[in-house]
Every structure is written in structure tokens, then in C-alpha cells.
Symmetry: D2
Subunit: 309 residues, 4 copies
């Protein structure tokens, strides 16, 4: 297939990222290419070797995926066109015939471990844990006989000739990972009315109220922030940029007005895209912040310039 029909993703095969990607309708007609790391998946897009990449950006237990946040904030610009939410539940995968009593060693990705720790304590208190490079890699090691069981997505069982002994394992309620589909910069995804906009902002100066002023740009137009994360700029302790998601689409007047306010108030802003919200919630603009009210205010200003205000 051509690069235009190729999607990369954070591999290997059999991970939750692949499961999230396969949930997208267009995945059926794309070549899905696992990559060894988030930077590798995104660099393939930058290089024109793939049309898009699906990478995790946020996990409700572990927090922001720093590799993704940092890649989106630096290097050649990329844009987000889609988000996918995937509830995270693990299956305990074993070779056919293995019983729970006989599981002495378990493996999985280091990130999985805190999410199944409670379950292990209750059901396999004696089992010994060793980390694998990925959940899929853990499954492979069970297939090879190195471990008795692996925590992975239930969907990974078949690929490695394993079977799910226990399913729906997760210590935290509502454990969810959020993935984003990233491509080269182009027109943002069309407005749906249930949209999200992402930006990265670098404060102009290290003064007490700088962050406060930026948050005011959002609040004063009634645009809710949905995620804010500080990331080091690499220029020393205490030097941050801020990665933010907010409600609404860049073509919503109130969101565009926020973006222009950020542009003026920040040393630098990077627009990361507007795209449909996976939860499909449609926010109701606060009074004074609808498109109609923005247009009316602009028209009124024009009339003021003619003495007809």
C-alpha cells in the first residue's frame, strides 16, 4: 500500500493501542504498522511514510504520556485529527490448560503492574512478577514458556495461542486510556458541535501571574479547560510549557478568540488541532459567548466607528 493509506501506531501488535486503532472505521482499509516507540510512530508521519499515527496521550491512572506530549510540542509540527477512549481492562493470558493454582510467575508491561497490583494481592499473592517490554511482549514470553501468565488485552490471546483465564481485571474503576490520531498539519477536522481543541503554550515571562492570565483567556470566554499539563522545556528546573485541551472547535468564535488571546499573551503557542470529542458531549456556551453574540459585538464595533453604535 502507499504511505497515504498507512497508519503507524505504538506497537507491538496486540497492545491496547492496536485495539484502539482497530476501533476506527477506516482502520479496515488501512495498512496498520506497529512502531517501536511513540517518536518512531510520529517520525514516520513527519517523513511522509505514513498518513497518520495512533499514539496514547493520557491514561486515567498513569497520567500524561510524556513521550507523546513532548513530541507534539517540539520538532516538525503535527496535528491531532481524532481521539479514541479505550477502557482499560486486563485479561490474565495463559497457555491452554493452565489453572490459576499453577501460576507461579506473571509478566506484563511496567505500566500494567500498578493497575493489577490489588488483584494480584487478592488472587495470586504468591506469584512472582517480572516486567516485559510491552503487554504483547509478555504474551509472547508466556507462549515461549518463560512465564506462566501475562497481563494483556483479551484481544491479544489468539495471536499468541493463549487463552484468557480471567478477564476484566483492573484495580481502578473507569481506568481509561486516551489515544490521538496524529497527522501532518492540514485543515482541522470538521466541526461537529462536540469538539475539543489542543494547544501548547510557552509563557512569555516567568512572572507570578503569567499562568493565571492564560487561564483567564479561557475563563473569560467561558471555554472550559479539560486537561492541563506542565512539561519541562528542557531549559532548566522551573521552565515549563503547558499542554492544554479545551472544549470547542477553532471555528467556534469563542475558541478562536481564546486562541488569539493566547497568541498575544504567550511567548509561543502551537495549535495542535480541533477534533471531535470521543464522549460526544456538546457544551452549551455561556451567555455572551455564542457565535451570534461574537458576530453581534463585531458588528456593533463597526457601527461605533461610524457613530451608529
Amino acid at each position: 500500500m502507499s504511505p497515504a493509506s498507512r497508519y503507524t501506531y505504538l506497537g507491538p501488535e496486540g497492545t491496547f493501542t492496536e485495539a484502539a486503532l482497530r476501533g476506527l472505521p477506516e482502520a479496515a482499509t488501512r495498512e496498520l504498522l506497529p512502531m517501536v516507540s511513540v517518536p518512531a510512530a510520529l517520525d514516520a508521519v513527519r517523513a511522509g511514510e505514513a498518513a497518520a499515527a495512533l499514539v496514547p496521550i493520557e491514561n486515567s491512572v498513569e497520567g500524561g504520556v510524556t513521550a507523546t506530549l513532548d513530541e507534539l510540542a517540539s520538532g516538525e509540527p503535527l496535528m491531532i485529527y481524532r481521539e479514541v477512549l479505550l477502557p482499560i481492562a486486563f485479561a490474565l493470558l495463559v497457555r491452554p490448560g493452565t489453572t490459576l493454582d499453577s501460576v507461579k510467575t506473571v509478566t506484563g508491561h511496567p505500566v500494567a503492574q500498578p493497575q493489577v497490583r490489588g488483584w494480584l494481592r487478592n488472587h495470586l499473592p504468591e506469584a512472582h512478577w517480572e516486567s516485559a517490554a510491552s503487554n504483547a511482549d509478555g504474551a509472547r514470553l508466556v507462549q515461549e514458556g518463560r512465564y506462566d501468565a501475562a497481563f494483556a488485552g483479551e484481544f491479544a490471546a489468539g495471536r499468541y495461542g493463549l487463552e484468557p483465564l480471567v478477564t476484566d481485571i483492573h484495580d481502578a474503576q473507569n481506568a481509561t486510556t486516551r489515544f490521538v490520531l496524529v497527522g501532518r498539519p492540514a485543515r482541522p477536522a470538521a466541526r461537529t458541535g462536540a469538539d475539543k481543541t489542543s494547544v501548547v503554550m510557552w509563557l512569555r515571562e516567568d512572572h507570578p501571574g503569567a499562568l493565571l492570565e492564560l487561564l483567564h483567556e479561557f475563563a473569560s470566554r467561558g471555554v472550559n479547560m479539560m486537561r492541563i499539563e506542565s512539561r519541562p522545556t528542557g531549559e532548566g528546573i522551573g521552565q515549563y510549557c503547558f499542554s492544554v485541551d479545551c472544549e470547542g472547535h477553532v471555528t467556534d468564535r469563542r475558541v478562536g478568540d481564546v486562541l488569539m488571546g493566547l497568541k498575544r499573551a504567550c511567548q509561543k503557542v502551537r495549535f495542535l488541532g480541533s477534533y471531535p470529542r470521543a464522549d460526544e458531549v456538546r457544551p452549551i456556551p455561556r451567555v455572551g459567548t455564542t457565535d451570534e453574540e461574537f458576530v453581534a459585538a463585531s458588528d456593533w464595533l463597526t457601527r461605533c466607528l461610524d457613530g451608529r453604535g
Copy 2:
């Protein structure tokens, strides 16, 4: 003369308002018509009987001139095209030959009294004060022999056949009255770089932070407020509108952006004009609020919509 060359002012002749009006270059070629009240002076403009009216709006000792503030906030819209600052100092006008020892009764406008009270206590502790309808009217009453002396502007002496016995009387240092030249709505005065903009705002709802939010519209664009006065709307105790002057001209991008923000956030806004500051101070815009930065932010938003942000 035609109405187009007629200026009304708060009369009668011989008041500080007339003195302020005569300080304007174009006054020499206009018919200057004294009116009995601020509403009368402004209604003549509304009715097309005069091109403009000069009225006091603020006094550094007595505060806002409520008649002017209320007239500008209600009725047919009017706009301010010019401001004039006049230092206020009184002269004690007497009939020729009168000595200070022989002054037993003094008169003047009620507003003058608090501004000369200290001087009276020190120099004429025994004199009896009675109020007159205006400073000029007081001078007339001295001419008629009803009082021994009147406080008025030194310029009023000749008109009433009086002479100034003492000049430069003012209890407060820097006592100043600010006058505005008001006309029917038209294009605002041209931008000079040292400008002032006036608005009246009606809060949308009586919630704790409403005024705070409006002040933020100014502060977030670095636009300094120079005057703020609350005035009752007439709808009951606790119902106010706010009359505000701020730095800058409506064609300054940051000021236009503030005005649009007020328009959206307020129940109602009335634009009262942009005009040259009498003190000719040219404010330096805060970083992030110059016209160039506004244009750059707008251009950047446009590029974002094409994926070139």
C-alpha cells in the same frame, strides 16, 4: 448663524463653562449660546438646534456631574468629541471701591462654597454666605447691590461691572473641572495616539463577579481605566450602570477588543466616543497588546484554519 455653527453650553454667561468653551480654537467662529441646564444644552444638540454642547462632566473636588453622566447614559445617543480641562480658581468680585473689611455678605454657586470655605474662614470669618443659582448669577446680584461680594471666575468681572478684589482662591490644590464637547453620533474624533474612550455599561446580572469580569476585559488587554462611576439605573436601590473612561482610541485594536468584550458581557453598552486627551499623555501599550500583535494573532488564527499555524 445656522445651527451648524452654534454651540450651546451650561450658562449663564460668565461661568467657568463659558471660559472653557472660549479656550477652544473654533469657538471664535461659533455662536455660543448659554442654556439654563445641562439637559437643555444637550437637548438643543439632539434637536438639531446646535452642532455641539460644552458641559462639565467631572470636578476634582465635587466628583462626577451627575446631570451630564445621566444625560449621556439615557435618551437619544450623543457622543463626546473633545475634552477640556480647566483649573478652577475663584476671584472675589466686588463693586469698584469695596474693601475686604466692608464685605459682610458673599454669594456664589453652591458648588463653589466647599472650594472656598477654608479661605472664607481665614479671611472673612464674619461674612454671611448665601447661595446663588450660578457663579455668574451671584456676580449679577452683587452688581445689583444685593450682596457685597461674589465668588466667580475672574473673567466674569468685566461683564458685570465688578472688579476682582482677590484672585486665585481655591482651598484644594489642583482643583480642576473637566468639560466635554458633545455632539450627535458620527465618526469619532481622529486618533492622535493620546486618546481617551468613554462608555456606559449595564451589567447583565446582579451576580457577585459581574463588575469584576468587566474590569478584567480592560485589564486583560492592558487598557487602563481612568475614571469609573456608578450611577443608579432608576430601577431601585442597588441597580447601577457604570460610566467609564479608558485610555486609547476605538481604532486601537486593544480598545476595540475591549469594547467587543464589554458588548458580549454586558446587558447593554453605550459607546460615548473616542477623543484626544487634554493632558496629551501617550500610553505605551503593554507587551502583547500592540496593533501589530493583534494583527499577528488574527493572521495566525487564519493560518491555523488551514493547518499552517
Copy 3:
């Protein structure tokens, strides 16, 4: 009677101020002394010649009573212990036997005129208005035959041998005047749960956000402002102090916290008292601002200092 049982008020007899004062229960046992001006009424209290003074502070049509605001902001400190709201409705007082048809001349206080202008236009379009020194004085002049009718409070009729030809005259709905009972500084009035607190604040510096910061002191503790008025400090155009009423009593923790915040943030603050609200509305503190939450936060800080936070 002794000064301790004497109340002064803005006279003369027969004005709305006297009517407001007589509405106070204790008025029956006090000597009520009319004074020629607000400063005179308040100076009698300062001098120990009266226990308290009742003066108007705010009118829903005309706005703040500047003489009262300025007297409270300067000179020897005074405090407010009570407020009274009086609906303002005028009666047209005439000599017995006068009919509406025969009224050719009317009088009243200048402040009354804008409040009855509409009624006059509709019912006595031909009548000639002249101002009197007070509403009561107008009534006296009708008694003396100088005018045919006077606008005044209905209660003034008997005192001057007049009768109310028309009652309940007021152009504006809900026209109300607010009066305050002022005494020398002492313990504030006891907390009722429906209280109001008054202060005057002088900003520390003339910087863009100074007023904004002060309003934030109120908003951040959920304390609603009920009135804000700027008054010139007398030091030149653009130099203001702010007179503010807010919800709550100085002994409410959130109000005390606001006051301390103002004290730190302002060049000067003058506490004008806490007193029962005439409208008896009891505000419900916002979550996080109850006395219990203030005490809990203070206790928690103490525990933090011991490592028990």
C-alpha cells in the same frame, strides 16, 4: 434633654429624612433636631452634641448623596449603625379648597423635580415650576401663598396647614431613598445574619489592576458588593477613593478576611461599620466561606505547623 438622647437629621422638619427617622422605634424617646446640612448634622455628632444623625446616603433615582459620602470618608471618623429605606412618593400639597385646575405655580426641592417631571407633563402641563430650598420649605411657601402647590411628603401636609390633593406621585417605579444612622465610633451593631458592611478604600497606586485586585478580595471570599461609588480625593482629576457596601458583618469570618485583605492591599481603608440590612435578606455563604470552614482552615494550618496537617 441631654446630648445622649438627641438625634440630629438633615432638616428642615417635614422632609423625607424626618419621616425616615420617625420610623425608627427609638425616635419616640429622642429629641429630634433638624440641621441645615449633612455636614452640620454630622458635625453635631462629632462634637458630642448629639448621639447620632440620620442622613440620606443614596437615592435610587439621583444616586449617591455626595455630601454624606464625602463627610464619612474624611474628617473625624464616624460609623454607621443602622440603615433605613424609604419609598419616595410625593404628594401635591395645596391650601384647603384648591383644585387641580387652579394650580398655576408649583414648587419643591430641585431633587424632587426629575422625579415628578413626567407626572407634571401629563397632569399640569401649563404649571410653572420654581425650586425651593427643600420640600418642606416649598410647603411653607404654599402656606404663605407664594405658590399654588408644592411637591412634598404627604406627612408634611398637616404641619403647614395644607392638604394632599394628589398622593403617590413618582415617575420612577420603586423610587427609594436610603438613609443611615451615624454615630461616633464604637462597637459595631450586633450581628443579625442579615447585615451590611461599609468601607472607604484608597488605592495604593494608580496602576491598571488596582481596583480589580480590590474587587477580587471580595469575590474570592464570596462576599457580594452591594454598592460601589468612586469619589474624588480632591487631589486632582483621576484621583479617586471608593465607597463600598458589601454583604455580611465584620464578625463574619469571610468579611473580616476581606477587610484584612483590603487593609493590606490599600493605601488606606476606613471601616464605616456593620449594621442590619433594611431588607432583612440573609445571604447564604458560598461553599468554602462559612465561619466553620474558616475555623477549620485555621485549625488545619496550626496542625500543619506540627506535622499533623
Copy 4:
């Protein structure tokens, strides 16, 4: 030695954490015990098996150390008593006799890799990288002959019989890691005038302005925030707590006032301690926020309650 003289740290031996710990004067008289993970190091303190633990909390290249942030925010409370800043520079450790030309395989902790990537590209473009469990572990694997070279602290060379072939390797200027010394809750470290205070805050409700209001608690008292990081609460995407460092000591009145404000405004606050700043910068309080001004405001409020305000 007894637990009271034992310090744990994030092991193994030979890591930067051990180097940071050995920089503390008291380390010479303590038993220093490496632990396999941040939770293990902290749990030993919670269990009373050690007096304190040194763990990394922030890296100028990689950002917050989430294991540390999350452990401090949950479980049995702990407090920070000290911070240590360690410039991060790597040495390329090799077996004696190895030359740069002969290095075909290199190892190190995954976190090290992005910090030496540029150096590798320039000096060892052909070398193959594989990650090790820690920098120290990498050194051990070089000692065992599994790799030709390891990136680690220069101080680790001797322990593993290696020698530093190249030193002071770091792609980013000023790469620094910040470590904190954590113990069971007790009195905070004494105030030095150059202090830092750490808290974790859980917002009360998911409303647009909640974070803004918290930042205002800092800004309104002139207390600078030095670090802010959002961390998921584990209750679903979009649910965060905020980990914050600010200038000043809990016994500074302005900082105590901020903390009480946070306590009232937040659903929950956890005080993580006040301790000397490693950079020894002494902030100058903004006007209105000194201890003296806080005391003066409090005294004034007391006087207001007696009518002596």
C-alpha cells in the same frame, strides 16, 4: 544501625540518587540503603524502618517523576524536609583499555537515552543502544562484558571497576534533577528566608474557573508558584489533582494565608512541607504581603471590632 539513623534511597548503588544523597552533610553518619523503587524507598519510611528517603521528584528534561508525585499524594502522609539539585552529566564508562573506536554497544537507563542522544549521533553514530534497568545496572553489565560502554555518573566507575572514557556528556544545557528528602510528618524544617512549600490540591468541583481560583489564592498574596503539575486522581479521564511548589515557608504569614485559602477552596489539600530552597534565593515580598503588614491588618480588624479602626 537503628532505623532512626537509616536513610533509604532509589537504588541501586551508583545512581545519581545516591550521589545526591552523599552530598548531604549528615549522609556521612547515616546508613544508606538502596531500594528497588520509589514506593519501596518511601514505604520503608512509612513503616518506621528508615528515618527518611531520598527520591527524585523532577528532572529538567524528563519532567516530574510520577512515582514520587503519586506516592506523596496518596497513602500514609509523608513530608519533604530538604531538596537537593544535582546537575546531570553522564560519563561513558568502559572497561580499562577500551577506546572510543571499539565501542559498538552502549547501555544505560531509558531516561538517560534522550539526554545523550545527540552526543551519540555525533560521536558514536554506529553504536547500538540497549536499555538497562538503571544506570548503575548498565555499568554492571559493562563490567560483565555484555556491553562495551555504559552511560552513568562518573562516580559509578570505581564501584564497577570501570573507567570514564568521556565525561560531562549532556545534550541539554543545565540538565538538572531535583531530589527531595522525605520523612514522616513532623514539624517542618526551620524557616531560612529562602524556602519552598509544597502542597497537593484536589479541586472541589469540575467547574471552568476552579483552577483559576486556586492560582488566585497564590497571586493575590504575591506568592510565586515554582512548579505545577496535574496528576490523574485515578477516577477517570479529566479528573486531576495538582501538585504545586511555591515560594516561602508555612510560617510566612502570606504563605499560611494562601494555605488557609486553599484549604477552604479545595475539596482536599495535603501539606507536603516547607524546606530550604537549594538555590538559596530569598524572594522579596510584594508590598502589602510582608509579615508586618499581615499583623498590622489583623490588629486593625481587632480595633474595628471595638470601633477604633
